[in-house]
Amino acid sequence: MHDQTLTPGVYMAEFSSAAELNSAVRVLSGHGYTLLETYSPVPLTPGIPRRRSRLPIVVFIAGLLGGAASYAIQWYANVYSYPLDIGGRPAHAVPAFLIATFEGTVLCASLAAFVGLFVVARLTRPWNPVFEIDGFERATIDRYWLAVNPADKLTVPDPTPGDLRRLSPLRIVRLETQS
């Protein structure tokens, strides 16, 4: 589950350790839940399937473009726009141009990685439905939350609270706000 698509009706369970959360994910996945998301103060690798990130390819392309642009600017300035006789060196000085080209590559790639992350991870939004949960603050300190979207268990009655309760979380909250 994508953490930006929290819908009303999502259950949030709070755990006191990463191990509990990890096993909770394992158990629920075993039950067939796929729309799961974790919230934790440290990165976890609980095995929730996710889309392959496009960030590396974006960064790669941005780097290529940055390098090409840097080289092009230098070539335009020193070779095409106003070539000058400088120290008897050729106007098109490939080795000299490579340094700024490298720097331009790294700069654009880095900017792409940074901005790209903020875009894909929706880090520009100070508000999120989960923040409406009292006590969610500890998700960045020492508590581990699991979000379960019952949408993929559309049986009636909703089995999710029961499934969650069996994992004995500290508490379970039902999300009421649309993201």
């Binding site: 106003y82 006789d85 939004r125 100070p126 508000w127 999120n128 923040f131 409406e132 009292d134």
Partner: protein
């Protein structure tokens, strides 16, 4: 307790980030655009002079050649700002008593120069030489515009370095026969490029883009 930030801050935050990015990139772009405007280059602004000298009357009406008053243009770096006495041969005593010419009369009487306001200003590190441009077939009109149509003279060219350099790189399109140097509204022949090439050859015009051409 609820969330620290209300929901609308999501929109606000993104809007502010985009605005900041646009400002950051926009200011230099705007500045670079602005320095190219006539406002920044002081083009097309008629300059008031102590005497309401009207080039239209003298050039178009009386058909006086530019070099009659600006008579050092062919031998000096400076085209020459005419001395007060140059008015006298044409404007006789009666004219001199008119209020329009009063500053000229006063200048001649008191031996004090007339304080003209400069229209075409180059920085002091730029050494422009009128004589060589005239000798190589650059007409008055090419840089000064249609002075014959100006009530008060204004700067018609941007006088930026890139403007100078564009012609120094490719002089041919700006050349004319030396016989037409002072002609206003010179009719460009159909074979402009051909003529330019011919004049380049005849007047031994070179591309002069090295720095000491102008900066010494």
């Amino acid at each position: 307790m609820g969330a620290l930030f209300p929901r609308w801050t999501n929109t606000a935050a993104r809007a502010m980030l985009i605005a900041a990015a646009c400002t950051f990139a926009g200011i230099p772009v705007a500045l670079m655009a602005w320095v190219r405007t006539p406002n920044a280059t002081r083009q097309y602004k008629p300059v008031d002079q102590p005497i309401a000298f009207d080039h239209r009357i003298h050039v178009t009406g009386q058909k006086i050649d530019c070099t009659y008053c600006h008579f050092t243009v062919e031998r000096s770096a400076s085209a020459g700002i005419p001395p007060s006495t140059i008015c006298v041969p044409c404007h006789d005593q009666r004219w001199m008593e008119s209020s329009v010419l009063e500053p000229v009369a006063r200048s001649i009487q008191t031996r004090q120069p007339i304080k003209w306001n400069r229209v075409h200003t180059l920085p002091d590190f730029v050494y422009f030489n009128h004589a060589i441009h005239v000798a190589k077939g650059v007409g008055c009109e090419t840089c000064h515009g249609r002075v014959d149509q100006m009530a008060s003279v204004y700067q018609s060219a941007p006088l930026t370095m890139s403007w100078c350099v564009s012609c120094h790189r490719d002089p041919a399109p700006s050349l004319r026969p030396t016989s037409a140097i002072t002609t206003m509204g010179w009719t460009v022949p159909a074979s402009r490029q051909q003529l330019g090439q011919k004049l380049m050859h005849d007047y031994r015009v070179r591309q002069m883009t090295n720095c000491t051409t102008c900066h010494r």
